[in-house]
């Protein structure tokens, strides 16, 4: 205590006699002091994360095993009646499994879309040209813009009555009638093949790809800049064509980055609430688990069931990510 106090209260300009004494002290003294200062400096962050993140998560576990509703909230304590009734009710309830399937479809296709577009963008902007910096910055707009504004513009653009897309579609492209992009359950067919996804789900997947591709673009661009120019140059002299140079030079370099991006984007898309809630409200085949949790929490006031579903969501995510890392983790470590 006293030593720590001395460490922090040293006068700004030590006198001559003090300096040599300090140097003679054992080296571990400064180390111990550092350890104490370190703990002191990190503790505010630690405290706030503990109180606002870790404890709430533990509390969710407790809530998930109790019959808690908004109405009887004030009377339930930590020591309530614990049962697995919530989990039984949630797992067997109508629509839970389909919400889970929708969540998976949404996150897998959204992730794949975002990363593919991001990769194409990074490749297209690889060679320098006039105004490339500006184009790069402009491509990041969808990612930085507020989600509420972005979803609002999209819903206006896609509006069946006065939306630009439907106006052009019916006027210029010869659509028979406007398409309700955000409220249609129909499964559209492309070139005679009927897709197993509703129009609305495809639209929100498209939105996800649009909004998140800049993230992938940014990371892939950074990675590509680190590839030595000499490699490309040598391959070009050896007569490698552009696709060969991509396949044998660029791809091996960016593949580990793509693996990491897939995990990150998958996690974030899997957890995503804002985009779907704002675009469709979870209607017409787009109800993902996080939107369902929100409905249970606010509309039904069934806190126990909401907590149980949120936990199931987190558990499934943890299992998926762990499995993925088990299979691909080793390769990434080397990269």
């Amino acid at each position: 205590m006293t030593e720590g106090g001395r460490g922090t209260a040293t006068v700004p300009e030590p006198t001559r006699e003090q300096a040599p004494r300090r140097r003679q002290r054992p080296a571990s003294s400064r180390a111990r002091q550092d350890a104490r200062t370190g703990l002191a400096l990190i503790s505010p962050t630690f405290a706030i994360v503990l109180v606002m993140v870790v404890l709430p998560i533990l509390w969710t576990v407790s809530l998930a095993f109790q019959q808690v509703r908004l109405l009887n909230l004030r009377t339930t304590g930590i020591l309530g009646d614990y049962s697995i009734e919530n989990f039984r009710a949630v797992l067997t309830s109508d629509g839970f499994v389909s919400a889970l399937v929708t969540t998976l479809e949404y996150s897998v296709l959204g992730t794949a879309g975002a990363i593919s577009v991001g990769l194409v963008a990074a490749l297209a902007l690889r060679a320098p040209f006039r105004g490339r910096g500006l184009v790069r910055a402009a491509l990041l707009l969808p990612y930085v813009a507020p989600v509420v504004a972005a979803t609002f513009v999209w819903s206006t653009l896609l509006n069946p009555q006065f939306g630009l897309v439907n106006d052009w579609g019916t006027g210029l492209l010869g659509w028979k009638e406007p398409i309700a992009f955000l409220s249609s359950r129909d499964e559209p067919s492309v070139l005679g093949v009927t897709l197993p996804l509703s129009t609305s789900l495809l639209t929100v997947i498209g939105f996800e790809a649009w909004r998140s591709f800049p993230f992938a673009f940014l990371f892939l661009t950074a990675r590509m800049q680190a590839i030595p120019d000499t490699l490309d140059e040598a391959a070009r002299l050896d007569g490698a064509t552009p696709t060969q140079r991509f396949r044998y030079i660029v791809w091996p370099e960016v593949a580990p980055t793509i693996a990491v991006l897939s995990v990150l984007r998958f996690i974030w898309t899997f957890n995503n609430f804002d985009d779907i809630y704002l675009l469709t409200g979870g209607g017409s085949g787009t109800q993902v688990v996080s939107v369902r949790v929100f409905d249970y929490l606010t509309a039904r006031g069934d806190i126990g069931a909401a907590a149980a579903q949120a936990l199931v969501l987190a558990l499934i995510l943890a299992v998926l990510v762990t499995t993925y890392l088990k299979f691909f983790g080793r390769r990434e470590e080397q990269a």
Binding site: L41, P44, T45, I48, V49, V148, L157, P242, S290
Partner: protein
């Protein structure tokens, strides 16, 4: 083996393939860039365009993409900003709330995360190796999982609807990322500078205040902008905590709530969208270089 195979395929065919590929790429590349640029920018152009048009104009000509300067209609901005008592949508109050929340989040987060990041990058203490991992795990948790207990907690202690409660939640959410980004920067500052000061007798805290902090200022400022953008854009917690009291709505929440009602004209709300988006875009272009560098710092390590 491979050498014989390479010489076996005729060089003429190979160079033909090369020419075909290079030619088609030369055509494709500008097209792809133009398409991407269009996709990224057009929605925002449309947003600004609609915010300048009166509603009946939009309903009559939904497909038009241009307005002459004489037709520019600024009434939508007045309507959206005016208070509800004056027949507007009260966005001025929302802007005030958003600003209060975002600025408070920035200040509190930096107060806890700058010392924290310094400690993680420079000082050996018990648990240091695990702590950043723990903090980062926060970033990957479903927000909706946190939303349940925090909603219950705030309802119970009567803090739902308070902007301060929202700030505390935001700080807990961004402190981890902030520490991660700042730590990367602190590690680029040569330790010899600090050692020199330490030999002159300066304490750790003095070293931090007089040497490391001034050097890290650019990173801290860009970090501040980054946190501001997150807090300004946030939607889920604002919706959960503040929705019942219109005077507490943030811009994001206000726009989402009003866009559901039929009474408010779409073009007026587009003016609201511009007001919501513009500060973020300005901040982004100011800090773009720093932000992209900080975000991808880990990606460049081969």
């Amino acid at each position: 083996m491979s050498a014989t195979r390479t010489s076996a395929s005729s060089p003429a065919r190979r160079s033909l393939r090369n020419t075909v590929e290079e030619r088609s790429l030369a055509v494709l590349r500008p097209l792809v860039i133009a398409a991407l640029l269009f996709a990224a920018v057009f929605p925002f152009y449309y947003m600004v365009l609609l915010s300048f048009r009166p509603l009946d104009e939009l309903l009559q000509h939904p497909g038009s993409l241009w307005i002459s300067p004489s037709e520019v209609h600024l009434g939508t901005y007045g309507d959206v900003l005016k208070s509800v008592d004056d027949g507007g949508q009260g966005f001025l109050v929302f802007i005030r709330n958003s600003l209060l929340v975002a600025v408070a989040t920035v200040i509190v987060t930096l107060l806890v995360s700058v010392p924290g990041a310094y400690a993680v990058s420079r000082l050996q203490f018990f648990g240091r190796r695990y702590i950043s991992g723990l903090f980062l795990a926060v970033y990957f948790f479903p927000a909706i999982l946190l939303a349940v207990p925090l909603f219950v907690f705030y309802t119970r202690i009567g803090m739902r609807g308070s902007l301060i409660g929202l700030v505390i939640v935001y700080v807990a959410q961004v402190a981890a990322v902030s520490i991660y980004m700042l730590r990367n920067y602190f590690e680029t500052i040569p330790e010899s500078l600090e050692e020199a000061a330490a030999i002159d007798g300066a304490s750790r805290l003095q070293v931090m205040r007089h040497i490391s902090l001034p050097l890290a200022m650019p990173a801290i400022i860009s970090n501040a902008l980054f946190i501001f953008m997150i807090a300004w854009n946030e939607f889920l917690f604002a919706l959960l905590f503040l929705v019942e009291n219109r005077d507490r709505w943030t811009v994001s929440l206000g726009l989402s709530q009003l866009s559901g009602s039929i009474e408010v004209p779409t073009t007026t709300l587009m003016a609201g969208s511009v007001i919501l988006t513009l500060p973020i875009i300005v901040l982004f272009f100011l800090s773009e270089r720093w932000l992209t560098g900080g975000l991808t710092a880990g990606a460049e390590k081969g």
